[in-house]
């Protein structure tokens, strides 16, 4: 390490510590009542006092994120490849793919409840739907990134279509696909928590809901900090995977 330079992780760590210190200072200085904003130490005590509760909730949420996110991303990727490969299909569905971003997926939630009931499947379906569209749009955009000249080169030797798809178009699409995955990672966490609000069976979202109903900001903030941790880890993991993929084709 060069003298005087902090490691990369230290910068956000400083921000985090700073924010917590500010929060603590603010609460102590102005004597903010705990039912409005508890002291960070109180939140910490909450977490430490019942780690099992938060761990179970985190697992429930993470499972929804991973299963729903993987299913949605995969389906979105396949859809994106299909519309990227078949221009008429792209013309036929792209207005709706883009419109689907405007339509809040939350609006579909009641329908999901009817179809899948108030259980695990609804949460998964919701998270999958949240991630599917951005992933499909990004992937399709990526498959349109191939330079015309690269396709000409392949055509000049009558290269088989699957070779063109796998060895040329896919690598050129990687940056966009990675971008889609990043969006999907964030949306999957948002989607899980939302699903836990309207399905109300388990997870961090459910915990937040119950805490709010009982006016327990300490529990709420404890659950929220775990959501943050889950989201942050996932985003980091996807980022790592993404930069590996990008480096492979850069």
């Amino acid at each position: 390490m060069t003298a005087g330079r902090l490691p990369e992780w230290a910068y956000p760590a400083v921000t985090l510590v700073g924010a917590v210190v500010l929060w603590a200072g603010f609460v102590s200085l102005f004597d903010v009542p705990a039912y409005l904003l508890p002291h960070p130490l109180a939140v910490g005590r909450r977490l430490a006092g019942d780690p099992g509760l938060y761990a179970d909730a985190a697992v429930a949420t993470t499972v929804k994120v991973l299963v729903g996110g993987a299913a949605g991303s995969l389906a979105g990727f396949v859809l994106g490849v299909a519309v990227g490969e078949l221009p008429p299909l792209w013309r036929a569905v792209s207005p709706y793919l883009i419109a689907a971003r405007v339509l809040p997926v939350v609006a579909i939630a009641p329908l999901l409840l009817i179809y899948f009931g108030t259980g695990f499947a609804t949460g998964i379906a919701f998270v999958a739907l949240m991630t599917l569209f951005p992933m499909a749009v990004s992937t399709a955009a990526g498959f349109r990134q191939t330079p015309e000249a690269a396709l000409d080169l392949a055509a000049s030797v009558d290269a088989p279509r699957h070779r063109v798809l796998l060895s040329i178009r896919l690598p050129y699409a990687v940056p966009d696909v990675v971008g889609g995955l990043r969006q999907a990672a964030t949306l999957a966490v948002v989607g899980s928590v939302l699903a836990e609000w309207f399905v109300a069976d388990s997870g961090l979202g459910y915990l937040i809901l119950v805490a709010a109903e009982n006016v327990r900001p300490d529990v709420l903030l404890a659950a929220l900090s775990v959501v943050f941790l889950v989201g942050f880890s996932l985003y980091g993991a996807v980022g790592l995977l993404g930069s590996r993929l990008r480096r492979a084709v850069a």
Binding site: A149, L153, A155, S156, V157, D158, A159, R163, S167
Partner: protein
Amino acid sequence: MSRRQGDAVIDVTELTVRFDDVLALDSVSLSVDAGEFVTVVGPSGCGKTTLLRSVGGLQSPTAGEVRVDGDPPESAQAAGDLGVVFQSHTLFPWKTALENVTFLRELAGRDPDRDRARERLVAAGLGGAVDAYPRELSGGMCQRVAIVRAMHLGASTLLMDEPFGELDELTRYDMAASVLDSWRDSDRTVLFVTHSVPEAVLLGDRVIVMADDPGRIVDRVSVSVPRPREEATMDTPAFADQVADIRRVLRQNRTEDTHPDR
């Protein structure tokens, strides 16, 4: 495939290509014999690339016909018998120079022949760049890799679209010399597009002179400068005369608002 000297390898008959309101090629006819080196000069936008792409089967004609070895260009594509060098180098950024060179053969369904590819890169002065990625190479080096790639395909017809566009003056000459060498040692047929009149004369058996608006052929010049042609050839009066003649034709056909390069 055995071809005799004198057979037409490329046959373009009354080829017209129209893009919306632009007549890129207006009834162009051209025949290139086996083993012939034909160069095409003309101002920017006169349809040189369009002509080359049409011969390569990458641009479908609005009217007229293109034949390569007597068949539509698609047959030559399928036979891996068309080596194309594009105006931009089109190397794949995730492949090394060597991998780029072998990749085209793989796309054509041939054995990549890495050893021979390496030899070719070394012979082209790219020995130090064999395992480098395109981003580590200069634009000119990338273009040289692309030329080596087309050579390595082993096609008997080469279509080259300003392959030396990004090269500096000296490297330009070196590359021209090496293209000439490998052309002489094989029985390849070459259709070569350039902006540079001296380059067209140095390389070509014939120079096709084009004009724009609409894109058309305005002259066909048989180059009388004897081969082998070398750097010093460009200083001879015979060479200078032919260059001057072609420049005169270009100037006469220049439209008011456009200027031919060089």
